[in-house]
């Protein structure tokens, strides 16, 4: 006769119960965030919110800023364009600087290399807001105050150190032998870098690019401090202006503009998912 193993209820259901518990905890934690987004979406398409939370009637009135100018505010598409220019420029500058800088720090042995690596990390850890006054003087002297160029250069220079670390981590994983092979196969070091090494660090370029785009897209402090004229507003200042409007706060408008502001971020994340996962798996090495 086969011996029967008697299992307690707990032993049989253990995995399912643990899973249920974990999921409930996660739901409770994420609920406030999820509700915020749900409220944002509902409010932007509703004329009013009953008790502040229940949508009343569907409307596109809140989205009117897309096709006509709101009094007292610059046209949304100019603001959108400014934001896009800022984000893309920061991204361009950062990618350009990090693919070169990361390679140098990963591949070349030179004096003070270690020191440089550490300094770069420390600089990145600096809260940039503490530099505001000093930066103001620099921008003033260089005549870049109240220009998008000034903010772009500033933002890029603060993002690049971190990007270099990320890129260095990706370069570190490419074996020397592949580079040697390229040299022996008849190419110069620069050509090998361009034809062999760069294609292999594409995920790294994507990661650095995505993060710098998003940080440019969501930049607020520097824009708010150094940009004065409405012509160079970006979406973050636009949203802030609506919140801080002295006449009255149009919540419908606020929600729809906020939503409009988030959309590119979400689109970017959807496309960039696989690359962002890569950075977690590969990590970065010193």
């Amino acid at each position: 006769m086969m011996k029967e193993y008697r299992l307690t209820f707990w032993q049989m259901k253990k995995e399912k119960i643990t899973k249920a518990v974990i999921i409930s905890i996660l739901i409770v934690i994420t609920l406030p965030i999820m509700l915020t987004y749900a409220w944002l979406i509902l409010a932007s398409f509703s004329t009013d919110m009953k008790y502040g939370i229940i949508p009343v009637k569907f409307t596109l009135h809140n989205w009117r800023f897309l096709w006509k100018s709101i009094e007292g505010y610059p046209p949304i598409w100019r603001v959108f364009f400014n934001t896009l220019v800022l984000a893309l420029s920061v991204m361009g500058l950062e990618v350009f600087a990090t693919i070169l800088g990361g390679y140098a720090l990963s591949r070349f042995k030179f004096r003070l290399r270690e020191t440089l690596l550490k300094t770069v990390l420390v600089i990145h850890a600096f809260p940039s807001i503490s530099l505001l006054v000093a930066i103001y003087y620099i921008l003033k002297i260089t005549g870049l105050i109240d220009t998008l160029t000034g903010v772009i250069l500033l933002k890029a220079s603060l993002e690049i150190p971190w990007g270099i670390w990320i890129m260095k981590g990706f370069y570190d994983q490419i074996p020397w032998e592949v580079e040697f092979a390229g040299l022996v196969d008849g190419y110069s070091r620069i050509q090998v870098w361009w034809k062999v090494i760069l294609p292999l660090v594409k995920p790294g370029i994507a990661v650095a690019g995505i993060f710098s785009f998003l940080s440019g897209w969501s930049e607020f402090v520097f824009i708010n401090t150094f940009i004065l004229s409405q012509n160079t507003w970006t979406l973050s200042t636009y949203v802030k202006a609506i919140i801080g409007d002295f006449r009255f706060v149009d919540y419908g408008l606020l929600t729809s503009v906020s939503l409009f502001y988030i959309i590119p971020t979400i689109v970017f994340f959807v496309f960039a998912n696989k690359y962002l996962l890569r950075v977690n798996i590969t990590g970065t090495k010193g």
């Binding site: 592949v178 040697f180 040299l183 022996v184 196969d185 008849g186 050509q191």
Partner: protein, 365 residues
């Protein structure tokens, strides 16, 4: 086709002397193996030949040209790496044609050539695949094709077989040798595997600690090791070593110790004058020792106890304990002696190697 001449080459990394004053020559069309344990400087030497490392001092000539300052891409070499170092983002076809594109050739000019070499190496059906989609042995062939397609004047291989499984390694060993033979290309082959070096190479340079211990053809390396290191490194199972002293007994010369009395043959005797002191190390290969079940007359036999038998199929290794020393003896004969019983070992006097205990150099050098 060209010859290689390396003169007093040194390569230091900081304080580490990776290659410490070596000189050697590879003749046109010759197959030269650089053999040594890991970290002995053989790969550094190869990379210096390739131009990837710059020599700290010394000269490298390809033919009559001093190439010290010539860039790797201008040296016209083909190279195969231990990890194959294929370009992961390119197809097999693109990998093989990559060196030709460097010269600015168009696809219509080299297409036939790529197909030809791929066919020759048996990878014609894999041209559209990525390196990650083919097996290790196939990757190896792609690496060979990539190295050979531009018809280099020098062929450099860095442990090309060590990532393959044992069966494939034996197969590729013969194939690379055949390929080299067909192309008559000057080849430098780095390996830590003595079997690869002995079976493939025309000549072998044995490395240790950044220095060359001996250069010679496989027969010389195996049968006339210049020093203790080469004697220890070459041969499997390794040579037996016995510390002894040279003595004259009853008109004959012997190397003796507490348990051994090894006769020195007449051919070896004249070389004894090279010794600084009578203290020597006697080396004898396992196949040069014969085991007898009984003590026979007129033979200088050494008595021992049969310790362990290791069967190898065709051969058997008998481990004989003499005093504290274990002698390994390899033979095709099957003894009818049980482990733990008394046996007698006879040394082939012509095959005995004698090294100075102080300098570790062979007296026949």
């Amino acid at each position: 086709m060209t010859s290689i001449r390396v003169i007093q080459l040194k390569k230091y990394f900081g304080k580490v002397k990776a290659v410490d004053n070596i000189s050697f020559e590879v003749k046109e069309g010759e197959f030269m193996a650089l053999l040594g344990p890991s970290g002995c400087g053989k790969t550094t030497t190869l990379l210096t030949l390739a131009g990837i490392y710059k020599p700290t001092s010394g000269e490298i000539y390809f033919g009559d040209y001093l190439v010290n300052d010539v860039q790797p891409r201008d040296r016209n070499i083909g190279m195969v790496f231990q990890s194959y170092a294929l370009y992961p983002h390119m197809s097999v076809y693109e990998n093989i044609s990559f060196p030709l594109k460097a010269k600015g050739s168009k696809k219509k000019d080299f297409h036939e050539k790529v197909l030809g070499i791929a066919e020759k190496l048996g990878i014609g059906h894999l041209l559209d695949r990525k390196p990650s989609e083919i097996s290790g042995g196939q990757q190896q062939r792609v690496a060979l094709a990539r190295a050979l397609i531009k018809e280099p004047q020098i062929f450099l291989l860095d442990e090309p077989l060590s990532n393959l499984d044992a069966r494939l390694r034996v197969l590729m060993r013969a194939e690379i040798k055949k390929l080299q033979n067909d192309l008559k290309i000057t080849t430098v082959y780095v390996t830590h595997d003595q079997v690869e070096a002995l079976t493939m190479a025309d000549r072998i340079a044995v490395f240790s600690n950044g220095k060359i211990m001996q250069i010679g053809n496989p027969d010389e390396i195996y049968n006339r090791p210049h020093n203790l290191f080469v004697a220890q490194f070459i041969g499997n199972p390794p040579m037996n070593f016995i510390e002894a002293e040279i003595k004259e007994i009853e008109g004959s010369t012997f190397a003796t110790s507490e348990h051994f009395r090894i006769r020195i043959s007449d051919t070896l005797k004249p070389y004894l004058k090279n010794l600084n002191s009578p203290e020597v190390i006697v080396g004898i290969r396992p196949e040069d020792v014969k085991i007898y079940e009984n003590e026979e007359l007129n033979k200088d036999l050494t008595e021992g106890i049969l310790y362990v038998i290791e069967p190898l199929g065709r051969d058997e290794i008998y481990n004989v304990k003499v005093g504290d020393t274990i002698l390994k003896v390899i033979t095709e004969e099957r003894l009818k002696v049980e482990v733990g019983k008394r046996v007698y070992c006879g040394f082939d006097a012509e095959k005995v190697h004698i090294f100075d205990r102080e300098s570790e150099i062979s007296i026949r050098r």
